[in-house]
Symmetry: C2
Subunit: 272 residues, 2 copies
């Protein structure tokens, strides 16, 4: 199945644009789980079981698993395996922010798409389209290219002007017009810049945006949705990580994560 | 010890600017090692034992280990541990090409500097200096920022002009003048563009360049050295990966790797 079809199907089924970021940093998960044999996986499993009918995607960020070495990578795989076995219709976005030269990208594509069986991966644009071909050639997998990120300081390069256009606008244009031949490209656009979301939406009604920056990073949900939704009131995957998974640190954390996910889904759906 | 001091010491000790890239892709290592319990580590160990007095650095690229999942990450760690225990004076460059928002980069820094105990890591500039602070703040560890990469298609963004300067030149200027407060930044500059190496060397005599692209990628060694060496006839870390580690696929592969490494070291030293 094509990635965009998969995304559309789960958005419809769960009536949700919410992506839960599984940024399951070991030191931040509830104390009562810290001594489990597989604490990150155990935590993720509980979050997934509580929220799976409220989301369109889960987005584990590799950094928080790599920090635990080979053990963390194993728990990341257990998490992806659990999703594939139990909720195969939900999109797995590997937030890995990779990009190397072409030959080397084959290794990263194998990691993301074969070993973990993720449905999509986030990518840096700096090495250009040709280098990213091992990702782009996977027609059933999503290549989610960093465009305008939500972090403080992101303007340092992303807002530089070249021929009257900002770099992030050029990234968007190139991805939309040149890189997306297999209809499997998406863009990362932070919720912290609704005006910029709007300008990129005007370039394409079709392309999906992965939108971080809601919640902890201060993005405004109403502005984000009004700026970024396409004419079908879709086209956005709205990520929340810490605001959901670390909303509570007691035995009740999964229920609270469910409450927060449902709240975010319903708040989003007010504007759809 | 500061990273630049460590680099200078090993360059002097081994009279070498050579970095051997441990791009130890499982399917490419000699057949007689494929059934070992830890084939990537066993291969790396043999390469290291044969070449350790001829190099200034080893550069494992994470992609080739991640492609093997948690097992590959374990073999990457075994490789780094082996280097730390036996040849602690040699620089370990983790070619990981990471970069995320600040909070998340802490996870990657933990992976590179604590779990693997690498001395330096390669980084994408696209999210800006503030995001990279968790790397830059490690005063004893090197932050090696992608500037002008050696791959086909790298000009797509890197050569865009803004205010009369190309993006890669701006990256170099920012890293040299603003990001390098702890004297721990280096730049990636491909051997495929000697003119560009020369223009960046003119900005700083001091900064080290990590130079890929010799050999398989077609970079010219003489031009690269004439363009990139600083006034002390140093300032370059010249990487060769496939041209050394896969020069031979028989039982004799490590000896051939030694021959190729020595040849490259001596060829480089002709121009120093």
């Amino acid at each position: 199945m094509q990635i965009i079809e998969k995304i559309n199907n789960i958005i419809k089924k769960n009536n949700s644009l919410v992506c839960v970021g599984l940024d399951s940093e070991l030191s931040k998960i509830p104390v009562h789980l810290q001594n489990e044999q597989y604490p990150q996986f155990t935590f993720n499993k509980a979050i997934i079981n509580a929220t799976h009918n409220l989301v369109c995607a889960y987005k584990p960020n590799t950094a928080f698993y790599e920090a635990q070495g080979d053990k963390g990578i194993l728990e990341l795989k257990m998490t992806c395996d659990y999703l594939k076995q139990n909720y195969p219709e939900i999109v797995i976005i590997l937030d890995a922010k990779r990009a190397d030269i072409g030959n080397t990208n084959n290794g990263y594509a194998t990691f993301a798409f074969n070993y973990l069986q993720a449905d999509a991966i986030t990518l840096h644009p700096y090495l250009g389209q040709k280098a990213l071909q091992p990702f782009l050639d996977n027609t059933e997998k999503g290549s989610i290219v960093l465009c305008r990120t939500s972090n403080p300081g992101s303007e340092e390069f992303q807002n530089l002007e070249t021929d009257g256009k900002k770099i992030f606008q050029l990234v968007a244009e190139k991805v939309i017009n040149e890189w997306n031949k297999n209809n499997n490209c998406l863009l990362v656009l932070g919720a912290t810049y609704p005006e910029e979301l709007k300008s990129i939406r005007s370039l394409s009604n079709k392309i999906f945006f992965l939108v971080p920056g809601i919640g902890a990073q201060g993005g405004d949900l109403e502005k984000t949705l009004k700026a970024g939704l396409n004419i079908e009131k879709s086209g956005l995957i709205i990520n929340s990580s810490r605001g959901i998974i670390f909303a509570d640190s007691t035995q009740n954390f999964a229920n609270i994560a469910k409450v927060e996910t449902e709240k975010l889904r319903n708040e989003i759906n007010k504007y759809r």
